[in-house]
Amino acid sequence: MVAVIEVQELTKKYGDIEAVKGISFHVQEGEVFGFLGPNGAGKTTTISILCTLLSPTSGYAKVNGYDVVRQKDEVRQAIGLVFQDPSLDERLTAWENLMFHALAYRVPKGERERRIREVLDMVELAGRAEDLVETFSGGMKRRLEIARGLLHYPRVLFLDEPTLGLDPQTRNSIWEYILHLKKEEGITIFMTTHYMDEAENCDRIAIIDYGKIVALDTPEGLKAMVGGDVVRLVTEDDRKAEEILRESYGVKMIRDRDCLCFEVDRAENFIPKLIREFPLRIDSISMHRPTLEDVFLKLTGHEIRPQAPDEMDNLRSFVRAHSRKKR
C-alpha cells in the first residue's frame, strides 16, 4: 500500500495557542480516513494545512507525494475539497459553478462538459443544472459541492464535516455517495467529523483531542480497547457506589461526570448478580456494546460534545439559512 498523505510532527500555533501539537500519521491509498474529535480539537486546522490554506508552524505534510508548503499548486491539483461552510456562488447556476471549477483546475477542453454531466448524474442533480444555486436546499448544495470536489478527478477528497447541519436523511444519502466513491473510484477520502455514528463508516479513525492524536485504529480496534460491555449505573450515592464497585467487583471504571460507567465482560450475567448483592439503592441500570463514544470517553475523560451540540448545529444551520436570505 502507498501512503497518499504523510504527516510528520505537525504543529500549528496561533500566537500562544497551540491548535495542533505535533501530530503524525499516514493515510493509505483508497482508504476512508476519519478525524474524530470535538469542535476546537484541531481538525479543521489540520485539514487546512493539508489543503495548503494554512502553513504549519513546524513539521511537514505531504499529499500525493507533494509538500504542502513548497508545492502548493501540485497539491491543489491533486485534491478535492468540501468545506465545512458553503463555498458555492449562489448567483450562478450549478452548471456555471462546475464550469468555473473545471477551468480553474484546467480540465481539458473536450472533457469538461462530459465530466460536469457525469458528476451531476452521480449526485442526482442533472435535472437542476441550469438552476441558480440559491434555489437549492442545504442537502442539494452539499451534494453539488461534493460533485465539484470530484470534477478534476482528485486523488484525495477532503471532507470537512460534510454532513454538518443536515437532516438525518440527507446525511445518509451523502454517506452513500462517499462509500460509493471509495468502492467505484478507489479515491482516498480524508474526513473530519464529530458524529460518532458517522465515524463508524471509516476504515480507520484518528481520535483527536486538544490538538493531539490520542488513538488511531479501525473502528473495531478502537472499540476493542474498551473491551467487554459498558454498564451505566445510577444509584442513591454514586461516589460510594464507585468505591464498592472498585473494591468488591474489580471492574474498570470509565470516567464520566454525570453517571457511573464501567466495563465488564458478559454484562448480561453481571447485572442480575449486581442487583441481588448491591448494598445501595439502584435507581437505574443499563448496558450496551461499546461504541466510539465510550472509546472517546475512556481515552479523554470527557464526552465528545460537551455543550448541547445538536442545538449548536441547529443554530448554525439556522444562521446560514438566514444569512442566505438576507442577501
Partner: protein, 296 residues
C-alpha cells in the same frame, strides 16, 4: 524544466484572471437592479445638479456659462470612480459567502484573483461609462470620433486604477458593514477634490495642494481635456449688465470693461494626466496582488 514551470504559471495566471473576470461580469449582467442603477444615477447627477448649478452661476454673474457642458466630463469620471471603487465589495461578499475559498484553493495564483477582480470591476465601470456617453449631446457636446475614442481610453485607464484601489482596500477588510463607511471616507474627498463638480480655479492654497495630490484630479482633467476639446465654455462678454446700445458706445469710446473669468477646460497637459493615473494604477495593482497573496 524552468521554462516549463514559467509557461505553466503564465497559463495559470491567465486562466485564473479570465474565470474570475467572467464570473463577475456574469453576476453584474444578471443583476437587473444594478443595470438600471448604472443608467439612472449619472443622469440624476447631470441634470438635477448640473441644471441647478448652471442656474446658480447665471444668477451670480457668470453669464451664459455652459455649466452642464463643463460638468459632463466630471460626471463621466465620477461614474467610473463610484462603480470602480464599489465593485470591489464583491470580494467581501465572496469572503462572507465562502466563494473566495473556492478561488484561493484552486491551482491559480492569488495575483490572478486580484487581476480578475480588477478587470471585472473595470469592465462594469467602463460599461456604465459607455451608457453615459449616449447622453453627450444632451449636455451640448456633439459627437466626434476623437471625443468618443479618447473618452473610452481615459475611462479604461481610470477604471483600472480605481478598481485597483478598491481591491486593495477590500483585500484587507473583513466587515461588510465597515466597507461602505471606509469607502465614503476615501471616495468623497477624492470626488470633491477632483474638479468633477466645480472648477479647480482660484481655490485657497491648502485646497489647491490637496487637489494636486489627488490622482482623481488628473483623471477628471484628462477627461475634460479630451471631451471638451475645441469648445468654449465661457462667452467672453463683459460682466456688467448694461443695455447693448450703451455697452457698444462705451466699448467704442475705449473704456476697459471687466470681463468674466474664463472657465478652463484643461489644467495640465494630457500626457501628464495619463502618466499620473497610469503610474498610480500600476503601483496600486502591484500592492493589491501582494496583499491578496498574503492572506490566509
Amino acid at each position: 524544466m524552468l521554462e516549463e514551470v514559467r509557461k505553466g504559471s503564465v497559463e495559470r495566471f491567465l486562466v485564473g484572471t479570465y474565470i474570475v473576470w467572467l464570473r463577475d461580469v456574469k453576476r453584474f449582467w444578471r443583476d437587473t437592479m444594478r443595470r438600471i442603477g448604472a443608467f439612472v444615477q449619472p443622469l440624476i447627477y447631470l441634470f438635477l445638479l448640473g441644471t441647478g448649478l448652471q442656474s446658480a452661476f447665471k444668477v451670480f454673474g457668470a453669464g451664459e456659462t455652459k455649466y452642464i457642458t463643463f460638468m459632463y466630463p466630471g460626471i463621466l469620471a465620477m461614474t467610473v470612480l463610484f462603480t470602480s471603487m464599489f465593485s470591489s465589495i464583491s470580494i467581501i461578499w465572496d469572503r462572507e459567502f465562502g466563494f473566495l475559498k473556492e478561488m484561493t484553493v484552486a491551482p491559480i495564483p492569488r495575483s490572478s484573483i486580484a487581476m480578475g477582480k480588477i478587470l471585472g470591476g473595470a469592465t462594469t465601470a467602463l460599461l456604465q461609462g459607455v451608457i453615459f456617453l449616449f447622453f453627450m449631446p444632451l449636455a451640448g457636446i456633439s459627437y466626434s470620433l476623437y471625443r468618443v475614442l479618447m473618452a473610452l481610453l481615459v475611462m479604461a485607464i481610470l477604471s483600472l486604477t480605481l478598481t485597483s484601489l478598491g481591491v486593495l482596500i477590500a483585500s484587507r477588510m473583513r466587515s461588510m458593514e465597515g466597507f461602505p463607511i471606509l469607502m465614503n471616507f476615501i471616495l468623497m474627498p477624492m470626488f470633491f477634490l477632483s474638479g468633477a463638480m466645480f472648477p479647480l480655479q482660484g481655490l485657497p492654497g491648502w485646497m489647491e495642494f490637496l487637489t494636486k495630490i489627488n490622482p482623481m484630479s488628473y483623471g477628471v482633467d484628462a477627461m475634460r481635456t479630451v471631451v471638451l476639446r475645441g469648445l468654449v465654455l465661457t462667452p467672453s462678454d463683459p460682466l456688467v449688465n448694461l443695455p447693448p446700445e450703451l455697452l457698444e458706445k462705451l466699448v467704442s469710446s475705449g473704456v476697459q470693461l471687466p470681463h468674466s473669468a474664463q472657465l478652463k477646460v484643461s489644467l495640465y497637459p494630457l500626457h501628464l494626466d495619463l502618466l499620473v493615473v497610469l503610474g498610480v494604477g500600476l503601483f496600486l495593482f502591484l500592492l493589491s496582488s501582494l496583499m491578496f497573496g498574503r492572506q490566509d
